[in-house]
């Protein structure tokens, strides 16, 4: 087991390294001169050259990469071109709204999706099942920002039940914090719920057809424990896998959701950086999010052995 963990960790490090290489190369391989683009349309050649020097773009590639890698490993994600503030600092200032959003979304989405998937499998072929399947496809197809604006229009503008946008830190009260996060969580999590509900349903259908479910029934086990203790746990591995992979959807959606709902998080940071072509910020955020994604999937892999004792490393 220990050997497996070490191997997985090394593999994870390798992947992170590759991510770093890709992101670094992106700057250099995309068409056009990065310095010119960053400088903007009205820049003079002198300004462009200044940017090129400040970003060290005149040195050989591997030197640049080495320098960059060392900096990153020391926690230095570069300096924002436009505000001259270290990227890491900027990220640190914006991290809590994003974490809050991610947390509420994941908790609500997984709970709802598991319930829907289990229900659909248990009542396979019924109206409830069809409904879950249809809502899944729809939920997966409607873009985050359209859902967001729809929710705002209905619940905030028309019904006035919830605030239109913005963020309230937890320190200033639970309900303000929660009420500002409800609509964004729904918008962000809808596709995620759809994905997880579908895989839950499929996995549960497989498990419910197994002989050991009949044995449980013959023992007199009640419906609740049958579905959740006996069946869901057995179906755990594929479901948890999708939960991990789906995080990529969430990460991508965070950028959009924070824009729609005006949450001052890391996503908004990236969006602002886009219009200003502030590449160090974009690069830093990508590194951060990729790292988070990789670590989450590592944890998912490690969880397999907890869920299914037949899986031993």
């Amino acid at each position: 087991m220990g050997a497996f963990i070490i191997r997985r960790l090394l593999s994870t490090l390798l992947v992170m390294g590759l991510v770093g290489v890709f992101i670094f190369l992106l700057l250099h391989l995309s068409p056009g001169d990065p310095a010119a683009i960053i400088a903007g349309d009205n820049a003079t050649p002198a300004q462009i050259e200044a940017i090129r020097t400040s970003l060290g773009l005149n040195d050989p590639l591997h030197v640049q990469f080495g320098r960059w890698a060392v900096r990153v490993l020391n926690g230095d994600l570069g300096i924002s071109i436009f505000s001259n503030v270290p990227v890491a600092t900027l990220i640190g200032q914006r991290v809590w709204p994003t974490i809050s959003l991610a947390f509420t979304t994941i908790v609500l989405a997984v709970a709802l999706a598991l319930a829907a998937g289990v229900l659909a499998a248990w009542k396979a072929g019924s109206l409830a099942d069809r409904l879950v399947m249809i809502l899944s496809v729809v939920g997966f197809s409607v873009p985050v920002f359209v859902v967001g604006y729809l929710l705002i229009y209905v619940f905030a503008i028309t019904l006035r039940w919830l605030p239109v946008q913005g963020y309230s830190p937890l320190a200033e009260g639970f309900w303000p914090w929660a009420s500002h996060l409800i609509l964004p969580s729904i918008a962000l999590g809808l596709a995620y719920v759809a994905l997880i509900a579908r895989i839950t349903r499929t996995a549960m259908l497989d498990v419910l057809a197994e002989d050991y479910m009949r044995t449980a029934r013959a023992k007199g086990v009640a419906t609740g424990p049958m579905l959740f203790k006996h069946a869901l746990k057995s179906a755990g591995v594929p479901i948890v896998t999708v939960v991990g992979i789906g995080i990529a959807l969430l990460i991508g959606g965070v950028v959009i959701t924070e824009t729609v709902f005006n949450l001052p998080g890391i996503g908004r940071l990236v969006v602002d950086a886009i219009s200003k072509r502030d590449y160090p910020i974009i690069q830093g955020v990508i590194l951060l999010f990729s790292g988070v994604y990789v670590i989450i999937n590592l944890l998912v892999d490690l969880s397999y052995t907890l869920l299914d004792p037949r899986i031993r490393y």
Partner: protein, 331 residues
Amino acid sequence: MTAPLLDVQDLKTHFFNEDGVTRAVDGLSFAVAPQETVGIVGESGCGKTVTALSILQLLPPRLGRIVGGRILFEGTDLTTLGEGALRAVRGDRIGMIFQEPMTSLNPVLSIGHQIAEAVRIHKGASASAARARARQMLDLVKIPDAARRLDDYPHQFSGGMRQRVMIAMALACDPKMLIADEPTTALDVTIQAQVLKLMLELKAKTGAAIVLITHDLGVVAETCQRVVVMYAGRKVEEAPVRQLFTCPAHPYTRGLLASIARGKAGARAKRLKEIPGMVPSLREPIVGCAFAPRCQFAVEACRRQQPGLMPVAGEPQHQAACLRVGEVLAS
């Protein structure tokens, strides 16, 4: 005569799918006395497994249904009970074990947990009390090193041992009756013998009645006191075990016995006798005797009307569903 523990009266279980209705069990009646071992024997598709599933109503929910008859267990008609009441019976007063030990245990729960679960549900035992009982059951079914094995998972056991675990699980709440659906079919021959021996020992210890479903007449000969022979969803013969083998009265039973290789040296030289023809489809209602198309004794009357159960040779316990019992016995 004591009241029977289980009294199945005219059971009819049908399966419904988009292609039509399959009459898996079509009017079966038999009874089991307390502490008795009754075997239900027949070939694949004759309805014996469906009978077993019908008793505890474990049929696949949307496909199979009991459409007629009564199943009296300790006086209560099980077919009238709702799911909640049935759950109280399952595992507690009637235990059941299934054919495939490899897939009948939940792979992600420890076997100790699975055994203890029955005790916790039905006896309201605490976790530790249930665990102690699970340990006791493992000892009873002769799993070595029981205390440590409680926390092991099914994949860490061999097929024979898993079947023992199933037996332990089924008997954990001290049920009055155990239904065993082909418990040894999926096991090696040597393991088969061990498991059967174990079942008989446990029956002696706990006083449970056993309904043993099998297609193997050898198993029946070793373990049962009475036998019910089924064909095409109906009972064709019922007798105390020795009589069935020495004096089979129904042509189908005769055919079955003739088609298995018997131990005598001379028999080895002869070709195994098969029963000509095929089992009729259960999708259409069968007119007359179900076995008539394949029966050498059949006459016109057999094809017209389903024969009732006739007593055989003056033995009250021996019945056969055949109009020509006399001729069959004489041949």
